[in-house]
Symmetry: C2
Subunit: 389 residues, 2 copies
């Protein structure tokens, strides 16, 4: 059964070798004044910075560099919005990973708003105008290049928000797998874990349907197989291209058209972890995944585990609960095999903050909402975090 | 490996029970003057005509009815374009199946062109302006509600054209599965066969990748399972909804992002059949499918058959060629089981036209092009048609 939904992704995706050659034609549609945003300089090391400057030699480029992982409202979004206003910017070109793009999406609406930008990001006020965002993505992970969301931290008020609105879709995204060849083993593993988790957050939902199940299982299988190849051979174009494409679809929502909304509970938990300890998002998700699965396993949820066991892993001749437990072990072993330490303590998370983080999760994300696949109260959150430590 | 591609689907999809309630809000964005297009009146029988008129009571509605299956440039497209010009139409609302929508797409560009509309459809002139098209689709089949193509016949010059251009994407598509409950068994079977064939045309391509394979196999499996339920219980919402959703994706192109382009050879052959004998498109495709498969089966293509055998049908312990032949028999048996007569002769196709049709195919579709998955010369086309008769 396909449950009711509304779906729209206006983003135009350019994928493949040297697709950025088409950048000038695309940018030209919007105007001459470009805000180019990027992070700590990895795009200079891989030659992409020079490539973009060469391609856009006929444009007026203003730069915003140094955008942080877990991008901050102050200074990055505020500075970017001001640059847009001061320079009459026509289009924002984000070059980098998900953080650079997320920050640029936030800038795109704040630049067209006269009030306090945080009111848009915290969804007190609905954005009605934006500057078009074009991106060249250099990391296969968050899927920000093909979704309508961004995650922004406001350190002044100790807040980290996932902000989702159709206005945040990029106008055009350029995905050239070769720009991911230099991504470290750690980031490759964590980016893939993030994307696998995106699929699982959508898989564990009610209602669900056999078509989406098949699509999501194909996505997880592809991610699991190709990350192993990319870790072994970082310049393997075939593996990097499949990782890049599947990651971009994994957070778009198309995998769950017609499925129920699960509430994304593992993301709710992980956002607290990275707010408190600034750990790498994908690593946190990988560690939480098997422990969240153990927590929610019951007669009510067993069918999802059995479907994964049979269709993803090909398990046979096991009782339902044995199969479910084997599925959980398999994910644990997989994440461990790609180099993720499977205990939060190894990432610096302190056990004495578990209670506080559980309260923080309940305050910031509705893990008890009636739409949540399996509601999680404070005791459940504490159990998951304690098992993960 | 994901081969280079550019992908964009701007269409907003509204899916589910009573989604048409949102029609006035959507139409209002474009203006007050609406051209409502439909076919022979089945939308009146199912109450959809009255529903639309009630919902759009505040709008100026001009009607174009009687659009034919295999819609004609003259009179339907010409008449519709003139109605748009004469009535200052802001938006076209297509209510019906793929033919009504295809005709409306052609009208949308011809209405904004001062020259001969056929020059746009035959792609002599590139369309640059169009009237937005919104549709309420009542048949799960062609996928026109989510693609950028239309097929239009010009009987005066004995031509039938598939016209594809990004400008032809509908602005919004409304898909309520209950409007397909009254679709006849014959149209249900033929519509599903059409969609299965759309997937197969994309599956038999080079290069291909494991992610897309999994998606396409999930789509074919879903179509095969749900059409059986819908034929048994025409008002089964679950089955009708999954058919409707999967059909809409099957012709969109997203299944073959990163795969090679096959040339859509079965469609090339079927277009000649329906041009000569006006047979039902999906039935023609179903009959051709196993015979095209037999024709192209070789060492070079065997992997595709084996992948279908293992992943779609779960065949085991067979030699590659035995498995391939079993896949072909399985498709034949499936189409037969849903009520499609598996010989073209039963649909009125005459064997003495085979040579002429083969020439027609070679003239109108490049089945020999270097991008075609397996090039087909005249002798091959004659073999396929002869085996299908």
């Amino acid at each position: 059964m396909i449950a009711d939904f509304i779906y729209n992704t206006p983003t135009k995706m350019f994928f493949g070798k040297d697709c950025v050659k088409q950048l000038p034609n695309v940018i030209e549609r919007y105007g001459k004044n470009v805000l180019m945003t990027y992070g700590g300089g990895s795009i200079k090391k891989i030659g992409l910075y020079d490539k973009v400057k060469e391609l856009l030699s006929g444009f007026n480029i203003v730069e915003l560099s140094g955008i942080e992982p877990n991008p901050k409202y102050d200074p990055s979004v505020i500075t970017g919005a001001k640059l847009c206003k001061d320079n009459n910017i026509d289009v924002i070109l984000a070059v980098g990973g998900g953080s650079v793009l997320d920050c640029s999406k936030a800038i795109s609406v704040c630049a067209k708003y006269d009030g306090e930008g945080w009111d848009l990001i915290s969804e007190k006020v609905k954005a009605t105008k934006s500057i078009p965002v074009v991106d060249i993505i250099t990391l296969a992970a968050t899927g920000s290049e093909y979704d309508a969301g961004c995650v922004i931290s406001n350190t002044a008020i100790n807040d980290k928000r996932g902000y989702v609105d159709g206005i945040l879709f990029p106008a055009c995204s350029f995905l050239d797998p070769k720009y991911t060849f230099s991504v470290s083993k750690w980031q490759t593993a964590c980016g893939t874990a993030d994307a696998i988790n995106h699929v699982l957050e959508q898989f564990f939902a009610k209602p669900h349907n056999a078509f989406n199940d098949g699509v999501m299982i194909s996505a997880i299988r592809s991610l699991m197989a190709n990350v192993k190849i990319a870790l072994e051979k970082p310049s393997d174009y075939d593996a990097r291209s499949e990782l890049m494409y599947v990651c971009s679809l994994a957070c778009n929502g198309i995998f769950s058209n017609g499925s129920g909304y699960s509430g994304w509970p593992m993301h709710a938990i992980e956002h607290a972890l990275s707010a408190y300890f600034d750990i790498t998002h994908g690593a946190g998700l990988a560690i939480i995944t098997p422990n969240w699965m153990k927590e929610i396993l019951s007669e009510n949820t067993i069918e999802r585990f059995v479907t994964l066991g049979k269709l993803l892993f090909g398990f046979e001749n096991l009782s339902d609960f044995d199969m479910a437990n084997k599925v959980i072990s398999e994910f644990y072993a997989f994440f461990e095999s790609i180099g993720i330490p499977m205990h939060l303590g190894e990432l610096g998370v302190k056990a004495d903050k578990i209670e506080e983080m559980a309260d923080h999760i309940l305050e910031n994300d509705n893990t008890l909402g009636e739409w949540v696949y399996v509601p999680l109260d404070k005791a459940a959150l504490v159990r998951i975090l304690t098992a993960s430590i």
